[in-house]
């Protein structure tokens, strides 16, 4: 016999279900209960950085958009610093930017939207610098454990080419599934980031 390894075990994940909005976005479920809805607004007028809108759909294997999906994003500020005590890069903190947002896709169209800023580059492991990216987490009915992925920017070709995470993806074609496409409309900068849960264009999901 050896000594027991007495670690606890992580609590198992379960699907967020179709009514996830009740707990996490009650306004979307159809009722007003909390004074302060968390994750609703990412920006204040003082927040530093280029304003961007992220839009897209999450598709199932039949090409149907999920109309009950919930997404959260987590990102660095315009200088590439996370608003967290373990970010030791020594870059300036923007106190007006938490870096976290939450939204539900539209019940009819399945479109999701975030209004945020474009993040700066963050230091990676070793001496690498990661290309600007946004960390994405997706839950919904039918998804048993939250899916992690990253969104990169189509106008950062050079940085993307050197990104240590994109370069881990063996099939170069699949790297494209993580690149959001930039467009501009009436002065608004829009990045379109569609996520495919399954099928030909299946998005790369991460075990972080």
């Amino acid at each position: 016999m050896v000594q027991p390894l007495d670690y606890l075990r992580e609590t198992a994940s379960q699907t967020a279900g179709p009514y996830v909005h009740i707990g996490l976005i009650p306004k979307q479920a159809g009722f007003d209960i909390f004074e302060n809805q968390l994750g609703d607004t990412m920006l204040t007028p003082e927040t530093k950085g280029e304003r961007i809108t992220i839009k897209g759909h999450v598709f199932d294997s039949t090409g149907t958009p999920l109309r009950d999906v919930l997404l959260e994003i987590w990102q660095a500020n315009a200088d590439g610093r996370y608003n967290h005590p373990d970010d030791t890069q020594g870059k300036p903190l923007d106190e007006t930017f938490r870096g976290w947002g939450r939204t539900g896709s539209h019940f009819e169209t399945g479109l999701y939207t975030f209004k945020t800023i474009k993040p700066g580059a963050v230091r990676g492991r070793h001496t690498h610098t990661m290309a600007p990216h946004i960390n994405v987490w997706i839950v919904a009915r039918g998804i048993n454990i939250g899916l992690n992925t990253r969104m990169y920017f189509s106008d950062e070709t050079e940085a993307n080419a050197k990104d240590p995470v994109l370069n881990l993806i063996e099939l170069e074609k699949r790297r494209e599934t993580l690149i959001a496409q930039r467009s501009e409309r009436d002065g608004e900068v829009i990045y379109t980031f569609d996520i495919h849960l399954q099928g030909d264009n299946e998005t790369v999901f991460l075990d972080i």
Partner: protein, 252 residues
Amino acid sequence: MPRWRIPMEHPTSPKGEYFQRDRTMHPPALTPHYKTSVTRSHKNALLSLQNSLSEITGPVFGHNELGALDNDLIRNYAHGGDPIGERIIVHGRVLDEAGRPQPNALLEFWQANAGGRYRHKKDTYLAPIDPNFGGCGRTLSDENGYYMFRTIKPGPYPWRNFVNNWRPAHIHFSIFGPAFAQRLITQMYFEGDPLIWSCPIVRGIPDDDAIRQLIAPLDLNASIPIDTLAYKFDIVLRGRRSTMFENRLEGN
């Protein structure tokens, strides 16, 4: 100034990477008896990433973002009366796999009412809405990782999966530890519920011990005589290494 601030560093908190997630214990993406997972599960393998700053950091929440009644589902949607149902306290600790308490963890929870009806536009089950019950709440764990809330025990409800599927009574939990890598959504079940072991969502978890870990025991020690019963539900988030050897996140 924003209503949230980075808290003081926890003096004993480790600074390394997070333990890898044991995906043989979590439900896999594809669990065909839970039918919606068929079209919503990835076919390609996940890409494994060693932690960088993007994974070991995560949003920080403050007490002043929450309302005074946010953890009291008996009061937080009361419109002139109390909700109908079994009054319960749900309490426990948020720990990591090394047994360390997780202070300042944001817990959000939602549930159906005593009859199994959700207050949601899309729920059309014939059991009635309770005018005094919203069904959601949230709280932050204290410096010892402890949390509690008061609610009504939810009822089971039918769902369109097999012809005659019923969800066991459950409360959904969403939890934030200090790192985005610890992000977790799960469901709490109640001791002794015979529906637990026939539920395709529960049985998506391949490991029976991991299922048992989702079942909250009745806790008479925490119940309030002539007032409220209690259930205890501890939550374990991913653990973290104390030290890094090579491959330091810090760079050189």
